[in-house]
Symmetry: C2
Subunit: 348 residues, 2 copies
């Protein structure tokens, strides 16, 4: 959308209507505007301007002779042009920092912590898409003996995520065997991405099977044990926050959202879309392109490690969302997450 396509007075009125509606969830009329905001205009004048704004699609009326509320187009203009950033308070900054710090030792918990923080600060349902795979590479792999038949398979990715898995084997082995296998796997797999993994392993297996029976068996077990396809996930936190919003007072209105939160497939689709562009992403109303949810907006931001986009995190709320605040929060939290994920991980 081009910037500044409205004259200053119309902009002022659109801003006032939007700001007020975001606060009160009530349609707002010309009289109220004239009274509350000293624009130096009479209700009648404001009425004329509002009629214009409605005609050009920035405002709408819930019904004849009610006040005006912003249309999706109005919100879009507000977000692109009119909105003023709201700074976070010292306390909020400190809160974010300390909440992150308390989980900083484990990347998976950081992701959970992120949505918790977002839900807490915004009071909207918050979502995070876990790191996608296409780019994730092996950095370290290790087999650790737990007892005679049980081995812990540990994988560290180059983005610092740690995965572990228990493996039961029925071939006798010594710790030294495992170390040799670990070393072997490390030498062969480091830098290989998740999607190349299975092909690489089968290839290796073919080369080696005859020459080294033990390694061959290890590879076979590995192939059996590794999931066909490691799936991205979406974590949701604070879904019930949506009940705080007046537009979801009737339980009926909440159902479609509830259903969506139950279906991870849909959440994946929703969140994946905003992976394409680095940084903030705001989808208003039908821009979400999801027929399940109406009159909602999604604000997300990508998070990254060493400049590589891993996933995306954000909140979902009614179109009458406090954009100014949420944009600030989501942006900051996503950056904080990126920072904590990168911690201790020099570019390799």
């Amino acid at each position: 959308m081009t910037r500044r396509e409205l004259d200053p007075r119309k902009e002022r009125i659109l801003r006032v209507v939007t700001d007020d509606y975001i606060k009160s969830a009530e349609p707002i009329g010309s009289r109220t505007i004239a009274r509350k905001h000293k624009l130096g205009l009479s209700p009648a004048t404001i009425r004329n301007e509002m009629a214009d704004l409605e005609e050009s699609g920035y405002l709408k009326q819930p019904y004849t002779s009610a006040g005006r509320i912003p249309s999706h187009r109005g919100y879009r203009y507000y977000v692109n042009v009119l909105m003023e950033q709201k700074e976070l308070t010292e306390e909020e900054l400190a809160y974010i920092e300390s909440e992150f710090a308390s989980k900083a030792f484990e990347h998976q918990s950081l992701l959970h912590q992120t949505v918790k923080i977002l839900a807490q600060l915004t009071k909207y349902p918050s979502l995070i898409l876990t790191p996608r795979l296409n780019e994730i590479k092996f950095r370290h792999i290790q087999l650790i003996p737990l007892d005679n038949t049980c081995i812990l398979l540990l994988v560290v990715t180059d983005t610092g995520f740690i995965e572990n898995k228990l493996v039961e084997v029925f071939v006798p082995f010594t710790p030294e065997d495992l170390n040799r296998v670990s070393a072997f796997l490390n030498s062969k797999l480091r830098g290989v991405s998740w999607s190349e993994l299975r092909p690489t392993l089968t290839q290796l297996l073919r080369e080696i099977r005859s020459s080294n029976r033990f390694f061959g068996q290890a590879l076979e077990t590995l192939l059996k044990v590794l999931p066909e396809k490691r799936q991205e996930r979406v974590f949701v936190e604070g879904a019930i926050n949506i009940l705080e919003q007046p537009e979801f007072r009737q339980v009926e209105k909440v159902k479609p959202l509830m259903n969506m939160f139950e279906e991870e497939e849909k959440l994946l689709e929703l969140m994946s879309r905003s992976l394409l562009r680095r940084g903030l992403n705001i989808s208003i109303g039908e821009e979400i392109q999801n027929s399940d949810i109406n009159d909602c907006s999604v604000i997300t931001a990508t998070y990254e490690v060493n400049g590589r986009i891993l996933g995306t995190v954000g909140v979902l709320g009614p179109t009458r969302m406090d954009y100014a605040r949420v944009v600030t929060v989501v942006d900051f939290v996503a950056k904080a997450l990126s920072r904590f994920l990168s911690k201790g991980y020099k570019s390799q």
Copy 2:
């Protein structure tokens, strides 16, 4: 409560009222009972019996001249004496099995999966208390070098849980150093419980500091890095399911619950109480002893590994809960969780 303190006809009526009310959420009157259930009694007789049941506290009326609903005492009698177990269907059994199996490689995910399954099957909010510490012992500890300054600290507990933590160190080390430290720690810490950990480490440090500077440094780092107190947690899933219940139609009624779900402290208290007794635990209404939630019941069951109670898992719903079904589900799921947690773990 003593068993069978009501005569059979009163029992029959109490059962009918409770069963019907659990299904319909509507107070049920004498005429309806006479019509729907062929007890061979006229409405007037039933009316008399119901008046008796009300007087002795098993039934109550929402208001004069409405039908009757069970009181907490009535529910208690129903649960203790009248209720008939409902078996799970083949599909449900298969569903539980496959959902567990898909996460069986990682204990932490098993816990998450458990609440998901419960929420799915019962349509009530589901909670799980993560394993408590007093009994958890170290089984294996290992330091793994990731790069020059970054070490992965891996801890396996004797109950099969795996914890990992990234540690940054500024003292140069070789992989062999780490192996020696690992071996040393293993020899000293195996079998030590979490609560004895810090004392043990400080003791070791005192003994060793002068004789072996390198181990001393390692111990110091470890002490710095280990959390003061590893906290039990409560995971919640399907909180929004509560909206399906008619008694939570008005959003106002949901608020107290919502607030409770936000405060992990309270959930911990709620869930910890049922750790005391092995197996199923049913708390009805004020038996929950929590002023934040009214007219709710909690059904939990403990889960264990090798006969040791680790935590507890269950659901929270309105007192008008489908006890028969939920009891069966919670019981089965808790046992399934125990089974999967124990898998691959021979008694050591």
